[in-house]
């Protein structure tokens, strides 16, 4: 049986500072602003995360 519960879940963004995750959620604009204020001297980056259990085709 295929687990279809993933359909209720969605993507999320993770913001990293010097490669370490510092914020996660779905409001990337706000997270990015917060991260820039909190980690002004660190290299920020972004990960887009699909919900676990999906296949990409």
């Amino acid at each position: 049986m295929v687990d279809t519960t993933f359909r209720e879940k969605m993507y999320e963004y993770i913001v990293l500072a010097d490669g370490k995750p510092v914020l996660e959620g779905r409001n990337l604009k706000e997270m990015w602003k917060q991260a820039k204020e909190k980690y002004p001297n660190k290299k920020l980056s972004i990960r887009w995360e699909p919900p676990a259990g999906i296949l990409i085709a």
Partner: protein, 151 residues
């Protein structure tokens, strides 16, 4: 996570290359799946480069795609781009996108390419072929690593 490295091309001439280890994710059907996810830096209308840690290196994608919120960090008004519909393998499903020219940095090289910024966030960042992967000698090594060598 991508692991930058240096490599040689097949004729022994030293060429700059970058190697990314596939990243492991849950597939939901057959346990874990490894995906060729690469790190790219993108510059939009501001001078800021934004690093995306896990763009899918996708030889099946004609064009590179970004989810909406990442596009909004790069472009003041995403909807000013040329509107277009893109389609994947899912029948009947179409995705509204706006085409923008964005600068990418990968493997120490800067280049500009058309990018489809999606109207949705439920779309992975994809590094596709046109003026993207096509610029590189791209090798997908045994489902473990992707090696990109600037041609």
């Amino acid at each position: 996570m991508g692991t930058p490295g240096r490599d040689f091309n097949c004729v022994g001439v030293r060429m700059p290359g970058e190697i990314f280890e596939y990243m492991e994710k849950e597939s939901g059907i057959f346990g874990k799946v490894l995906r060729p996810l690469i790190a790219v830096e993108i510059k939009g209308e501001t001078s800021e480069w934004i690093k995306i840690e896990n763009a899918l290196a996708d030889t099946g994608a004609d064009i590179s795609i970004l989810p909406r919120d990442i596009g909004d960090l790069l472009i003041k008004d995403v909807t000013e781009g040329e509107p277009y519909e893109v389609k994947g393998i899912v029948p009947y499903a179409k995705l509204i996108v706006y085409i923008h020219q964005l600068k990418f940095k990968l493997n120490g090289k800067e280049f500009e390419l058309p990018v489809a910024i999606s109207d949705s966030n439920d779309v992975p960042p994809i590094f596709g072929r046109v003026k993207g992967l096509d610029l590189f000698d791209a090798n997908f090594l045994n489902g473990q690593k992707v090696k990109l060598v600037w041609e």
